[in-house]
Amino acid sequence: MSSAYAIEVDTLTKTFGRLKAVDGLSFTAEYGRVVGFIGPNGAGKTTTMRALVGHIRPDTGRAHVAGRPYRELTDPLGTVGAVLEAGAMHPGRSGRNHLRILARQGGIPARRVEEVIDGVGLGRAADRRVGGYSLGMRQRLALAAALLGDPAILMLDEPANGLDPEGIRWLREFLRGLAAEGRSVLVSSHGLAELALMVDEAVVVAHGRLVVQQPLAELRRLAGGRTVRISVPEPDRLAALLAERGHRVLGRAGDTVTVGGDDARAVGRVAFDHDIGVDRLLVEEPSLEEAYFRLTAGKESIR
């Protein structure tokens, strides 16, 4: 590892015709972490990933992996594994042959092909032609291709697309396992609920620019932090009492009052002191989805 960062994007800019796909984007990803790459359609996620593997040339700025441009890596497949498009495979070729060809190009021993086929659970399907694969099987094959060189850095663009719930769970555990081995995983996804369960931190982008890069917990805090929700028969009265006592009342919906912070005991005490029966009391933190929408409010919609 020639750099402290697995991935370094520095003031990256890329324009296609009149469209500025990436606009001065900067972020980093460390080894041993799963980083979620989040943003609306057209935010520049895929373009950034393509720049990182040298598929496109940036207009300005740097996109480095393992401390250098991808083109300068001496062992590319052994350094970076990328899934940029799960459909990038010839339908008339078997999955096993698809991997064998890539192994040959990358100077990787043929036995490694069998290891990654087992690793992603492709099994006997590897001998079938890719044209007959489901989207989920293609995702597994693409992941197997990315793992062929046993790389320390993985970049996955929408890897959960087409996976069934079992497959998504498998992917989550798989990626967490890779990070636990010290690898860096950059993963983009529109499935924010799934992403929340697998990433350590998130890079949020919109319009090709960085919105925020933070660990997940910090992201949630930035998005408003924890809230206390209390359901009572007299919500208006309780809301007024809470406000009088300096609590930050964020809103009321039906019989539920939402209060900023996480001091459920103090909120419950106000209800108790005024003989207001409590039906439900819980502390919630914003989901990644809520955090995302708050941070990118007005910047685009997500698919």
Partner: protein, 236 residues
């Protein structure tokens, strides 16, 4: 042979379409040749005259096949995987051209051998000049090299026109352009597809070394432009 070229050949080996072309095209070549050879209008005086049409068919089909497969790699984005394995693009693209030149050579050899074997007995029954053994061998080798060159040219077209249908259209369109240019400007003998025929005839209006040299120049030029364009093209 480089690992990249071996990988490209493996790509071809693992596709049905390659085997279909390898099996069917020589048969097409023979059928076309027999059609010419059995023509009651006997304007063919040498055995190679029978081969003209079949050689043109083989050359264009081989070039179109190469253009379609290479162009298809850009549409399917499988070329992106090649670039992931080997980020320096010139060797990757050069390996594709080399592999298709190899496939073209095999097809050229098969077609020339079969054509010679089939044409000889027909020629014996006619007032047709048969090749001596030396000329026969030279002709087979010349056809092999010429079809290999056209196949490499087709692969270069596939890089330049990164869509299979459009790339095939470009190859077929070129054949028409070549006919029009040849008629209008009288330079037909110096254009690629006609040069294949000239090479097969071991010379004609254009002497064999010049014809072969020109063919090599066309291939080098097309491949050079393809490498230049392919090296810089964004895979967006």
């Amino acid at each position: 042979m480089s690992a990249l070229t071996r990988a490209e050949l493996m790509k071809l080996r693992t596709l049905r379409s390659t085997w279909v072309v390898l099996l069917v095209l020589p048969v097409v070549a023979v059928v076309t040749l027999m059609d010419a050879a059995l023509d009651p209008v006997e304007h063919n005086t040498r055995i190679v005259d029978f081969m003209d049409v079949s050689l043109a068919v083989v050359s264009v089909v081989v070039a179109a096949f190469a253009a379609a497969l290479v162009g298809g790699e850009f549409v399917r984005r499988t070329v992106g995987l090649d670039y992931l394995a080997v980020p320096r693009r010139v060797p990757v693209l050069a390996a594709k051209v080399s592999a298709f030149a190899g496939v073209g050579a095999v097809l050229g050899l098969l077609s020339a051998l079969l054509a010679t074997v089939v044409a000889a007995p027909i020629a014996l029954g006619r007032d047709v000049v048969l090749d001596g053994p030396g000329d026969a061998v030279l002709r087979v080798l010349a056809v092999t090299a010429a079809v290999a060159a056209l196949s490499a040219l087709g692969a270069a077209v596939g890089v330049l026109v990164p869509h299979p249908a459009v790339a095939v259209g470009a190859v077929i369109g070129w054949q028409i352009v070549e006919m029009l240019l040849g008629t209008a400007l009288g330079i037909g003998d110096y254009l690629p597809i006609r040069l294949v025929t000239t090479v097969a005839h071991l010379g004609g209006t254009v002497p064999l070394p010049v014809a072969f040299g020109l063919l090599c120049l066309y291939v080098a030029g097309a491949v050079g432009v393809a490498l230049l364009v392919g090296r810089r093209r964004d895979l967006a």
